[in-house]
Amino acid sequence: MAGAARVRAPDSSTGNVIRDSALGIVPQTLSHYLPLNAAIWDDGPLNAAEIEMARLRNAQGVGCVLCKAVRYDIAIEAGLDEDKVQMIGDQFENSGLTPREKLIIAFTDQYLNNPGVPSPGLRRQLQAEFTPQELLHLSLVVAYFNGFSRCAVALGGMPDEMPRTEISVPR
């Protein structure tokens, strides 16, 4: 059973899901979160479908019901359909994901479960598939969404389950 939210949300109803969440009560960080969130989606070399795959894998690892239910519209437009989302599970290695997509999941798992330099084999595969800028982008995608989802979980009030919910990137 879901517990109660541990803090009050702001009174605002701007339509921006970050500004209207509990994060909105700390304006000193909100002013950094909003442009960073947009930049994560807009300013890096990975496409939105690749970002979304890493975000969803992180959501599974953290157990964030909200994060797992959300789908960003720009990721869908970039080609991430529900068939592919269903492959982002613990059996991803044996799924129909492309080698590049499997490496995104493997990198995310490394961050979540064993933060340290990846094995020589995984490093070679990552370096063969991605540019340094792409790997840095993937790193910051995972770090950003991991911190975000852990905060969401810790603030309480998370439902036990949520329907798939399509949203736009808050700007």
Binding site: G3, R6, V7, R8, A22, L23, I25, V26, Q28, T29, S31, H32, Y33, P35, L36, A39, I40, D42, D43, G44, V62, G63, Q110, Y111, P115, G116, V117, P118, R123, Q127, P132, Q133, L135, L136, H137, S139, L140, A143, Y144, N146, G147, F148, R150, C151, V153, A154, L155, G156
Partner: protein, 151 residues
């Protein structure tokens, strides 16, 4: 040298992803100026995360000066006289957050709110996510010496 990109420090790597790396650093820097939480308390939490992750590099960093006795006894903070009640509330929440954010109890969250309010709890949880992220990135990129846990 990091394996992921040319460079051997976080700033050099972050600079290679303009628009994102600098904004991530900007968010990190914002935590040291918050009115909701003392910077020294946040520094204790960051240092405790460095211990838990066994990151020598992050332990060696000093974002904010804290008393030497607190650094020396941080691992034993529950039994040390050098930590006050607000710091203990934040450190207790930090340790659970590091393992499983979903395992944080209402009592642990309330303990932080007792001293810092709703805004302080949100700010602390935001800070922990970013601090943890910076430490994990250093370890993942190969910037940190994670060979020992000697603090």
């Amino acid at each position: 040298m990091a394996w992921i990109a040319p460079g051997d420090d976080r700033q050099t790597l972050m600079n290679q992803l303009p628009g994102i790396g600098d904004r991530f650093e900007g968010l990190y820097a914002a935590f040291w100026q918050l009115p909701q939480l003392p910077a020294a308390t946040l520094e204790l939490c960051r240092l405790r995360l460095a211990q838990l992750h066994r990151s020598e590099r992050d332990w060696a960093i000093e974002e904010v000066a804290v008393p030497r006795a607190q650094r020396d006894e941080l691992r034993q903070w529950p039994d040390s006289p050098h930590f006050d009640a607000p710091e203990r509330a934040c450190l207790a929440l930090t340790e659970v957050h590091a393992i499983d954010a979903a395992a944080i109890t209402d009592a642990q969250a309330e303990a932080v709110k007792q001293y810092f309010g709703d805004e302080g709890l949100v700010a602390l949880l935001q800070a922990l996510g970013v601090f943890d992220g910076m430490i994990r990135l250093g370890l993942l990129w190969g910037l940190a010496d994670s060979s020992g846990d000697r603090h």
